[in-house]
Structure formats: C-alpha cells, structure tokens
Symmetry: none
Subunit: 226 residues, 2 copies
DNA sequence: TTCATAGTTCGACCGTAACCGAAGCATTCA
DNA sequence: TGAATGCTTCGGTTACGGTCGAACTATGAA
C-alpha cells in the first residue's frame, strides 16, 4: 500500500556521499560556489556540477548567480532540519570528520568589491542598514526605504542624482569571505566613495584591500554599530 | 572538510524505492513479516530479505522472531520522525505518489504516525494541549507540565506508569501534511490508545488512516476545541 | 581585443547494488 | 518422522548512476 509522498527520491538525493558532503558543507547557512563545493565533496568540478543541478532540481538547494560565480545555499530551514535529523540517526554509529580554516585576514576585514565595500565591514554595514529600517529585503531583492533616503542624505549622498542614473540603486551582493549579503549598486558605490572622501578609509593602490583610519573606525562604529 | 556524522549512508538506505516502501509500510507502527513487506515493496522474497537485513544493520528497523515468522518494525520514534520529515520535503516537491484519492484526504485529516495521532487532528490536539498549559515547549523540546499530568490522568492515562518505562514521555514530531508539530512519545501513544479504547476512533486495518466516530468527533471537539 | 577563470555539457568507462530463481536452513504441523 | 511453510544465502545477470577529462559557454580582467 503505497501511501503518502515518495521519500525515496529525496533520500536518494541525500544518499550519495558527494552530495551529502555538499549539503553538510551548506549546513551553516553560508552560500558556497560550485568550485568550493567540489572541493568539499572531494570530486571534480564537472562531477560537482552534475550533483548541484540534481540537488537544485530536487529543491534541496537554491542557486544564486553572481557574475561568473554561482553560489549555492540550502533551499530553506526545513531542508536543514531534515539533515539535522538524519545526523541524529547517523550519529548512532559514529563516523565524524574534520574541518579547515580561512586565510587572508586583511581582505576579510575590508576590501573593495566592484567599487563597493565588502568583507566584515561591508556585511556589518548592510546588516545595520537593515536593522535601522533603511533597507528592506525581500526575495533576494533589496530596496531603499524612506527612512533610508533620509539616512543616506545625512551621510552626504545625493539620492536623487543616483536615481537619475540608469544603474540600479541598491543591489545585494554575496560576500565571498563572509558569505552574507553586503550592499552593492550605485548606492553601495556612493557609500564607499563617501567614506573615502571623509577620510574614513584609504584604498591601497593596485590592490583590493582597504585601510581603515582611526577616525574611520570611530565613525563607522558610531554609525553602523559594533 | 566536513564535520558531523555521515548522513549519506542512512539516507542511501532510505533512498532505495523498495526500502522506502518497506519503511513507509511500517510507519503505522505495526510489525509486519518479511513476506508481507516483500509484497509492500513490490519485490521478490529474496530481494526483500536482503533489504531487511540492510535496514536492520542500519538500525532503522528492528526484527522480532516469533516462531517461523520474523516480524519487523521501525527501530524507534526517531526513525519515524525522520521519515515524516522526509515526507514533508517530498510532498513539497510534488513527489506524491500516483495514487491520490479519497484516502489521501482521510490521511490528512487523521492518521497514525508510529502509534501516535497525526494529521490535522494530531496537530490540533497538540496545539490545544499547549494552549491549555498541559504541554510546555522550548527549543524543540516538549514536556508535560503539572497541569498536563492532571489533564492526562483525567483522560484516563497512568502517567506514573509511563514514566517508569525508559521511553521518553513527550516528544514533538513534525507532521508532513500540516508542517506543524504533533505529539509523539509514550504519551502520544497512550493518548491514541485511549481514544481507541473509548471508541472515539477506529483504526482501519492495514492502513494508517483513522476513522473518527460521531462520538469521537463530539468528544474531541469538546476536549481539544475547534 | 585577447586572456583567464567559473561553470556546464558530453562521451566513455566502470563499480556497485538491485534483482531473481534455486538451493539451503529452520520451524511448525500432521 | 515426513511435509509444508517462512525466510536466508548463493550465483549470475543487468542496469543505473557516479566519475573523469575534454570541449564548450559565459563572464570578468588586462
């Protein structure tokens, strides 16, 4: 008597070692690129690509294209919940593994990403703007609220001028070191430019690293918390 | 690379269609013989035997020898919980089985989930118990309050006896059709058994569907609202 | 423009495991 | 004691799917 949903397809999807590794790697909520996931899974890029499209079709993960990178994250909390529950069952017979750490500290702190602020500082700014209601997020889209217009103007940015330009005002950009959103778009660019003008930061020529001045650190923390 | 237990083995175990059929058939908490399960799975007896020993090794099911029969049942509530959760994912993907008929509607209304009540009725009961302070939820854990002990006793359940058994008294289980918690654990089992004793419900033999009697409907609404 | 990097698709190879039937135990019943 | 039933094991076949490298597409950098 075959009743209820067919669990074998979903389970089989999770049941391949490479795919299970991919899903486990995504369990912390970060978004990783196809190449990184190939490394995590211990398979070649072409193999991983096949797995990723299967997982996407199965709605266990969700892809997000960004430039020439393609980031993947778990589809939603329910998926994470199922994985967690499966780990509970699997734990009854042991078999655990290890983990690796990150690298370039300076770049992770603050850097330029297509002319806007990225790294921990970029992510912190983005979250602060969300928290104070300056930005509104929905379905991977982000927009500037009325509150946000007031804030940006106070920060020294001419929003009306930015709106005149064809380029999108706000875009969320996935941070490669933090794996969280930061602010892109013409507003993101203007924010970074403004920080440079006011002497908060200094860009290292020929490199993406950003140096934060003492004044910049004070000011940044004051405005964006932290 | 990775951390946490290896979920791929357990998932692969569930991922085979024949084994998934076997596990699904056991979801109502009954113990079935190898021959019956072979029929459920749609494979030959020798094939089923192989699957059953794999599932046993994987601790998803538990065999019980009785004479020349060998009965199998799910290993415990956790296994049932994982299966329910997987059904939730599968249902969302639209991977329901071909057979959709009156029985599906009945299943969503009230069904057995490893010996406890699931479906809309199960969820409603759970929420009513929370609302009246009989159950307390925190961090995915659920426990019986003093108020709850009084209530359960009034319902005809010997809580002291349940506590003596090793099995956990209360446990929440995610309902695949409602996507909300319902009550599992030995109390959940006792509640269902009590409803059957008092003639509120009648289990359809060989199926997970539960039939609610007229008296049961009155009584249930009276006690659990709605 | 040209070059480099990220990812996808294709083709071929190969291993695992699902499957069945037949023979082999084990248990119960006559 | 045999005969019947329930299940397991074995051997052989088959097919599905995971794997890689190479060719191809798309995007960004110089």
């Amino acid at each position: 008597m075959k009743e209820g949903p067919d669990i074998s397809q979903v389970a089989a999807l999770i049941g391949d070692p490479a795919r299970a590794n991919i899903l486990t790697a995504l369990m912390d909520g970060r978004a990783l690129t196809a190449s990184e996931l190939a490394g995590e899974a211990g398979v070649g890029l072409s193999t991983a690509s096949g797995h990723l499209s299967k997982l996407t079709d199965g709605q266990l993960i969700r892809p997000r294209k960004q430039g020439r990178h393609k980031y993947f994250q778990l589809a939603d909390d329910d998926v994470a919940g199922v994985l967690e529950a499966l780990m509970g069952l699997a734990a009854r017979r042991g078999a655990t593994r290890v983990r690796t750490g990150p690298r370039d500290a300076q770049m992770q702190q603050a850097r330029v990403c297509y002319n806007h602020l990225a790294g921990r500082m970029g992510v912190q700014m983005y979250r602060a703007l969300l928290a104070r209601g300056a930005l509104a997020e929905q379905d991977d889209e982000v927009s500037l609220t009325d509150t946000g217009v007031v804030f940006a103007t106070g920060f020294g940015i001419d929003i009306a001028a930015l709106r005149d330009a064809r380029a999108p005002l706000c875009r969320s950009c996935l941070d490669w070191s933090e794996r969280r959103n930061h602010l892109a778009g013409s507003l993101g660019r203007a924010m970074l430019a403004r920080m440079e003008e006011t002497g908060w930061i200094r860009r290292v020529p020929g490199h993406r690293v950003i140096r934060v001045t003492a004044r910049g650190e004070r000011g940044f923390n004051e405005v964006f918390g932290g």
